[in-house]
Symmetry: C2
Subunit: 280 residues, 2 copies
Amino acid sequence: MNRQQLIDLIRRKKSYLCVGLDSDISKIPSHLLDTEDPVFEFNKQIIDATIEYSVAYKPNLAFYEARGLTGMNSLYKTTEYLEKFKNECFTIADAKRGDIGNTSTQYARAFFDKESSGFNFDAVTVAPYMGEDSVTPFLKFNDKWIIVLALTSNKGASNYQFIADKADVKLFEQVLSTTANWGTPENTMFVVGATRAEMLTEVRKIVPDHFLLVPGVGAQGGSLEEVANYGLNNDCGILVNASRSIIFASGLPDFAEKARAEALSMQKLMESTLKTKGIL
Amino acid sequence: MNRQQLIDLIRRKKSYLCVGLDSDISKIPSHLLDTEDPVFEFNKQIIDATIEYSVAYKPNLAFYEARGLTGMNSLYKTTEYLEKFKNECFTIADAKRGDIGNTSTQYARAFFDKESSGFNFDAVTVAPYMGEDSVTPFLKFNDKWIIVLALTSNKGASNYQFIADKADVKLFEQVLSTTANWGTPENTMFVVGATRAEMLTEVRKIVPDHFLLVPGVGAQGGSLEEVANYGLNNDCGILVNASRSIIFASGLPDFAEKARAEALSMQKLMESTLKTKGIL
């Protein structure tokens, strides 16, 4: 999916919601455990319940890899199911990969090259530490995206990401400006955590046009209003991810209904912020 | 495998060689392509040919993930095969993972918890960018190791890893000293690339006792003598990885024989450096 298609999708759904499919089998409703593939069944029902309000889905690979081939099989079935909604959602492999050049090329195939791996995600999250040759191989695929970790939503973000060099440039700022030179706003996004919403002002000075993937709203405590206030640009320019607050809104048989209600409530707030900013 | 067992293994084999199983199917000898699982067959023959001289094996996940479930199945069969040599080699999942705390816990299960994922590696490589809670969940498993990226062997390493803060501490130095506080030399190693062997002197000032995993010897151009000279400590303290220079020493039916010769030649040099340093 290219940038214009993504923007059109956001305008159509009046939403910039991304649903994180962090489908931990120990947390899914127990009545699903008797089905053939509980995690896939859970994801399917979550997708059906939220597709009207969500523009993106982001399975985090860790939750699938933790269960080995069984887990990866659930993920394949989930992505196949998402193909039915190809023009209705953007898909993100939250994998945080990155390796030396010839190896990152293999990771790019793992997430983008359906013939090779079976996966056909629109985007993959990428870790910046190893620099240019670890990032650029992902950019060789048309209409595919990298989403590079800049400022993450977790506590450990403060260990390195705020380290300032002698010119007072912080590491996450270096990552933003350096990575922006390797790709374009047509193929590069950045992860900027909602738990540090006030930092979005600084981020927007460096990358005014790029899309930002903003995790940390919901279970991690970030505020959607603040994110919208500091992060929206004229093309919307943000995807706000919520995982646990939506998919585990209820652990009972009404989980899909409750997920839908939670997604709708976020969509309504998003619609209002898009109108306030004159984007709708 | 714990630290003492690893040291004993190194003394027994007179080697600190790690063989990287970056088994790219497009590079394996064509006569294997007719077998049921060419990548597993290739790995099996490489392991058989090198086990006498190698103390560790390090499959890089990217080469398996690129081929989807088929690739992951080859990797499972490879790790099962390696279990036969359980006391004869240390196994490393080169995966460069790292995510927020609850997600890194899932990645730890993916590589260490056999009942959950089917994998039972001794160690996993970890990316440092997301900080403490992305790293420490891996340390909760007994006799399992993290190998944290500090100074990598690729060109892109220079983008961020050498950035110095106001006290002139470089990012990779911060990563070494900060990570060393979360774990111990019993469960933590660091990646330090051989292409920057002279930097090992600086590294050893910060982490004198930790094991270092040193990639970049061979195809990437690093020198084994220099690595030994700057990197060895009293317990050996290094694992030198070679991937392409061993596994693709020949692309013909003699590939295993040539791999064995290459591994033997490295082992001989390693034995000599261990003797020079008084470790043997």
